[in-house]
Amino acid sequence: MVSDLIMLSAHRLVKVYPKKSQPAINGLTLSITEGEVFGLLGPNGAGKTTAISIMTTLLKPTSGSLTVCGLDVLRYPAQVRGLIGFVPQEVALYQNLTLRENLRFFGRIYGLRGKELATRISEFIELVGLEESADSLVYTFSGGMKRRANLAAGILHKPKVLFLDEPTVGVDPQSRNLILERLTGFKEKITMVYTTHYMEEAESLCSYVAIMDAGQIIIEGAPAELIHRFPDCPDLEALFIKLTGKQLRD
């Protein structure tokens, strides 16, 4: 059940990259409550990845404030890192390690040890359906298997807030279905910030979405509520096109 506890709060975040005149994000303000699945949507170049990078302590904002689980991210990044999980766009796994070795490595970095680590590894290998390939080198995996393994590495330590940056991109339908099923299973247990280009995914998974463009949130709300606000849009995808335009973004 979604509580009123604020797990992530961003206030007027601005990020200007060196040698760029336009800010990548410009006054981003949002608030995410416990157990919420927050969909951060937007076309290419909208600022989603920059926003996620700031929220996961990878980048420092030019201005603004940010807290995760009540901790100031800019002042206590090391403590925040112990509370969050990150599933990046890329398959960020060591290709020449087995899945089990990868998970053991990540688990140890998160402070898991001994029996607890071994149990957790088995649990999450099973969760992503890779029991038979657990001791194979990751480079031998198919694209879908790698994506599932990527997810397991991000949630192994059961984070308070999980950031997922397009976790299903380029995945076969079966793997995508499994990933979405598992994430649905975490709903209300783990707070999630989810970016995707697949609107139907966002519509089914996210309890709240914000559509960004040019570094700013242009609309936000529960998916059903947003669709309701625009009667001419039958779904989130139509709404997304209506708000961000049909021109190509490369």
Binding site: T50, S53, V91, A92, L93, I109, Y110, R113
Partner: protein, 452 residues
């Protein structure tokens, strides 16, 4: 600490499974040490220990040719070859054999050389007994062209080899010259003395006085009256003669150690490109731990390289007929050299992996820069053999510092005190490279994230 060791362990497993990385780090330097040492050991022997085969064509057949031949034989370092395929060799065939590289040197004694030489010597002695002849403008014999012994060399032969051979021949000729001069001097001096005595005595001269003029026998024992003894300047401790093993084993070990820049730099770039670095930096660990784990793992790899390559020098190469590697008298100094070199190599790898944008850039630039630094550092040709300008540039190569320190310990009998400055340079190089990498990474925004 557990996190740090987790990173070290991960690096070691990844490297263990990287076949091309293992080839570069272990097989390449081992092969280089074995091949180059054996090749250079042979060159070393050709200069000092084994006999050089020299073609000798004597068209004169008199005393000069015999003297030269005998003297060269006596030297013990030259094998005189006068026949090819059972037939006496003529000068044209000999020159062709040298041009083909079948032989490196041909000494030619042309016809009439002995007569011309004796004539020149006789005139030279006569001139010395009549020192005012030239002053009075009297044309003296021996002012014409000197008799010549042509020596033909293989065009590919090194200058120092040619100089050594010419010096040796000049020594032989000088010996013959002295012998001939003294013989003629002995022959002419009594007559000269008689002539002078007659001049002084004038009408008082009697042939009985001739008996008082001593017969000259100006020959002497051919044993040298002063000896030269070859000695090496060394610190206290084990005396080690420099040879191809003592030079090549540490040199190519160092080369192999610095080649860790390719897999180390490559691993950093892959982590950045695959999003691994981004993921790691969102985890409860620091960049310092990530980098330190890599550095320790690769320093450990360097230690394994040193143990393996030194073991080859100590055990395998002697089985192939070379002397064994001597490890010097200061194990502590040796360990310090190895550690400081390994850190310098790791620092360079970190810098390369941070600055290069692609794996191809890192592997290409890393390999080429290490080869250049090795050439400058005296790995391929000793620094003292380089031109002055290159010797000055060499002072800036980390491989030169490392090699100099290695040679200090392994050959000059050095200790920690004698290698401390080179070790300090290597450590400073490590600190500078890692600091520049850190600065560059911070400037680029930790993980190189660009606006999307």
């Amino acid at each position: 600490m557990v996190k740090f060791w987790t990173f070290v362990q991960k690096e070691l497993i990844l490297l263990y499974r990287d076949f091309s990385g293992l080839m570069v780090l272990f097989v390449m330097p081992l092969a280089l040490v074995i091949v180059v040492t054996l090749v250079q050991e042979n060159i070393f022997k050709s200069i000092g220990e084994t006999k050089n085969r020299v073609l000798f064509v004597d068209q004169d057949g008199k005393s000069v040719g015999k003297w030269v031949e005998e003297s060269l034989r006596k030297s013990g370092s030259i094998e005189i070859v006068k026949d090819l395929k059972g037939k006496p060799i003529d000068i044209e065939t000999a020159k062709k054999a040298v041009l083909r590289g079948d032989f490196q040197t041909c000494i030619h004694i042309p016809p009439g050389l002995t007569d011309a030489f004796k004539k020149t010597v006789r005139q030279s002695v006569k001139n010395s007994l009549a020192p005012d002849a030239k002053k009075r403008g009297i044309q003296t014999e021996g002012d014409n062209d000197l008799p010549v012994i042509p020596v033909y060399f293989d065009p590919t032969l090194r200058g120092n080899y040619r100089a050594g051979m010419i010096n040796g021949l000049e020594k032989v000729i000088l010996g013959l010259e002295i012998k001939e001069k003294m013989g003629i001097f002995s022959e002419l001096l009594p007559g000269k003395m008689e002539e002078m005595a007659k001049k002084v005595a004038g009408p008082m001269w009697s042939d009985d006085y001739k008996k008082g003029i001593p017969k000259m026998e100006l020959g002497w024992d051919e044993k040298p009256l002063m000896a030269i003894k070859e000695k090496m300047t060394q610190n206290k401790g084990v005396i080690v003669l420099p040879n191809a093993i003592q030079q090549n084993v540490p040199a190519w070990t160092l080369f192999g150690m610095f080649f860790i820049v390719v897999p180390l730099g490559g691993s950093l770039i892959r982590e950045r490109q695959d999003g691994m670095l981004a993921r790691l930096l969102t985890m409860p660990t620091s960049y310092l731990t990530i980098i330190s784990g890599k550095i320790l793992a690769y320093v450990m790899i360097c230690l394994v390289q040193v143990v393996l390559i030194f073991a080859v020098g100590k055990v395998l190469l002697p089985l192939l007929g070379t002397p064994g590697l001597a490890l010097g008298s200061s194990p502590a100094a040796l360990i310090l050299v190895v550690l400081s070199s390994a850190l310098a190599a790791s620092g360079y790898g970190i810098l390369l992996g941070t600055i290069a944008r692609t794996y191809e850039q890192a592997s290409m630039f890393g390999a080429v820069s290490v080869v250049i630094a090795a050439a400058l550092g005296g790995v391929m040709v000793p620094v003292y053999m380089m031109p002055r300008i290159m010797q000055e540039i060499s002072a800036f190569s980390p491989l030169a510092w490392g090699l100099n320190a290695f040679l200090d310990v392994l050959i000059r009998g050095g200790n920690i005190r004698s290698i401390i400055s080179d070790a300090a340079f290597l450590m400073i190089f490590f600190v500078i490279t890692v600091s520049v990498a850190w600065f560059y990474m911070v400037k680029r925004g930790r993980v190189g994230i660009q606006q999307r």
